[in-house]
């Protein structure tokens, strides 16, 4: 299946994951393994549960009081949903960037520093903040105005700032929830290029409703679908090139060729 010299390492293993909001089941029996240092895309029509699945990886769904999880997500040989693990620590290892850029109403510097301060970083802040902004391709544009308010940046710049903010604490995995859907095409391209570079140091899982973006950016793709019960299931999960040229399941082919949106 692959010609790489090293065995591909799976950094996150989803085992029979089902997710409920109260009595409503949003995800059913999902199993897939996320490969390290690769970009994995989650695609599917709206309402299929791809964002819900993404938010399971960093336990952001815990913020809903009626959220219930069955199954496991194994990260570093530990089930992140086990009782002994505090979600707060998970989130410093699995970061997230949201659909609409949401920088804090603070300076650019303080935005990037926030995660470092919260998590007790005791080293050189200036260095780390510069590194994070360089990695998110924003440094040149803001290096002279780090004290400016984050809202003085354009939409695309704000999103890259949010990426820098997430990168600052050096997570192992970065979750991107439709990161470009609120941005113009030029800003979108910048972020897609960024994703390509970031995967050398990070594992990336990206939710996108844009199939072309998935094809451009990802190494592997997972296709989810929900039926009349609005419960999402995993239909197909394969290397992107394979899935887009030779999908194995009919529904996947229908979706990719645009027979339904």
């Amino acid at each position: 299946m692959n010609n790489e010299q090293n065995q591909p390492k799976d950094i996150l293993k989803v085992k029979n994951l089902s997710f409920y909001y109260g009595t409503f089941q949003a995800l059913k029996d999902i199993s897939l393994d996320i490969e390290a240092n690769k970009v994995t895309a989650l695609i599917g029509p709206s309402g299929c549960g791809k964002s819900t699945l993404l938010r399971c990886f960093n336990r952001m769904n815990d913020l809903f009081s009626n959220a219930k999880v069955e199954g496991q997500i194994i990260f570093d040989d530990l089930d992140i949903y086990s009782q002994s693990i505090d979600p707060v620590l998970i989130r410093s290892k699995i970061g997230m960037v949201f659909q609409k850029p949401n920088p804090f109403p603070k300076s650019i510097y303080d935005n990037v520093a926030f995660g470092l301060r919260i998590n007790g970083f005791a080293g050189n802040y200036d260095e780390e903040i510069e590194r994070a902004l360089v990695q998110s391709a924003l440094w040149d544009e803001v290096k002279d105005r780090l004290k400016d308010n984050a809202f003085s940046l354009s939409g695309g710049q704000q999103q890259r700032l949010c990426i820098a903010r997430a990168l600052a604490i050096r997570p192992d995995v970065i979750l991107l929830d439709e990161p470009t859907s609120a941005l113009d095409p030029i800003a979108t391209v910048k972020i897609e290029d960024l994703v390509n570079v970031l995967k050398k140091d990070y594992t990336i899982i990206i939710v996108t409703h844009n199939m072309q973006q998935a094809a451009r950016v990802s190494d592997k793709t997972a296709f989810l679908l929900s039926g009349e019960d609005r419960c999402g299931v995993l239909i197909e999960y394969d290397y992107t090139q394979t899935m887009f040229s030779n999908p194995k399941i009919k529904e996947t082919e229908d979706y990719i060729t645009g027979r339904f949106s």
Binding site: R91, F98, K100, F104
Partner: protein, 307 residues
């Protein structure tokens, strides 16, 4: 198309009536709105006109620098400082209660409380706002003062501390509901970003939400204090009628508002300097509360984050 048949004629008459009615209503509601401007004008004009008589007899310098306020008893003295000191003493004591309690209640309701609890607690706190201030005065005099006398035996019945503490309780709902509004206005996306970086709920509230809502919170404090300064019956009943320039809370003092009530009850002769002194105190009171209210609203307008 022939529009001149009976159906449309009656409709045209109806339309005409509606139009006249509409014009009258338009005039009426405009007048109503402009009455509010008239009221402000009347308040200011009334205060200025009545206190001019006072200030022709008492110089502004004496008014602000004399340390004794004795408009009736001889030797007469018209220094406003004791009344202002009395007002501020009570207000500061009140803020020691209202600010921490109002802030913590607001943060609890906005960031921590589950929905059902919030729906019960919020109206209960609002009840505090609906209680007439004479009732608070009664409470200060008959419950709080005896209680405090146990701690401070040398305290007299009328004192600033009782009034200030109860005043604090009285303005809790004012401070907490404005603060809560400011906290709720902070979009959830900011909280989510904070959680996604591994922050706890406390860290998210204190390091993200409160700073983002800061302008609204400060405005809440300023407006709450302004309310305390303008409060009348509570201090008249509980704080005393002895104008004294002091910062000792267990002493009896008199606030600006209580003085006005005292004179108003005494039926001072219209036109006498005692009568005019009511307006002199009144105009100062108005200026203080007006500037604080304007400051509070300005803080919100100027510093509010637009999301």
């Amino acid at each position: 198309m022939n529009l001149n048949n009976s159906v449309f004629d009656s409709k045209r008459g109806h339309r005409l009536r509606m139009k006249i009615e509409g014009r009258i209503v338009n005039l009426f509601v405009s007048i109503c709105a402009f009455i509010t401007l008239l009221v402000t004008f009347a308040i200011i004009w009334n205060l200025v006109q009545q206190s001019i008589g006072f200030f022709t007899q008492v110089s502004l310098i004496d008014f602000f620098t004399e340390t004794r306020w004795s408009p009736i008893l001889i030797p007469k003295s018209f220094g406003i400082a004791p009344l202002v000191a009395g007002t501020f003493l009570v207000t500061i004591i009140a803020s020691f209660v209202a600010v921490p309690v109002g802030l913590s209640v607001a943060i609890y309701l906005a960031e921590y409380a589950p929905d059902t609890l919030r729906r019960i607690l919020k109206p209960i706190i609002e009840v505090l706002a609906g209680i007439p201030t004479v009732v608070y005065g009664y409470f200060a005099l008959t419950f709080v003062t005896p209680l405090l006398k146990i701690v401070f035996p040398e305290m007299i019945i009328f004192n600033a501390l009782s009034a200030g503490l109860v005043m604090g309780i009285m303005i809790i709902p004012f401070v907490s509901s404005l603060t809560e509004d400011a906290l709720i206005a902070v979009p959830n996306s900011l909280r989510q970003a904070s959680y996604a970086l591994g922050a706890t709920r406390f860290e998210t509230s204190i390091k993200v939400v409160v700073p983002a809502a800061l302008s609204g919170i400060i405005a809440a404090f300023v407006l709450g204090l302004s309310r305390a300064i303008g409060e009348t019956m509570l201090v008249t009943i509980a704080a005393g009628a002895t104008p004294k320039l002091t910062f000792n809370p267990i002493e009896s003092i008199q606030t600006m508002t209580a003085y006005i009530v005292q004179l108003a009850l005494g039926e001072a002769a219209n036109g006498s300097i005692e009568y005019q002194s009511i307006y002199a105190v009144g105009i100062l009171l108005f200026l203080i509360t007006f500037s604080m209210n304007t400051l509070g609203h300005w803080i919100v307008r100027r510093w509010r984050n637009v999301y």
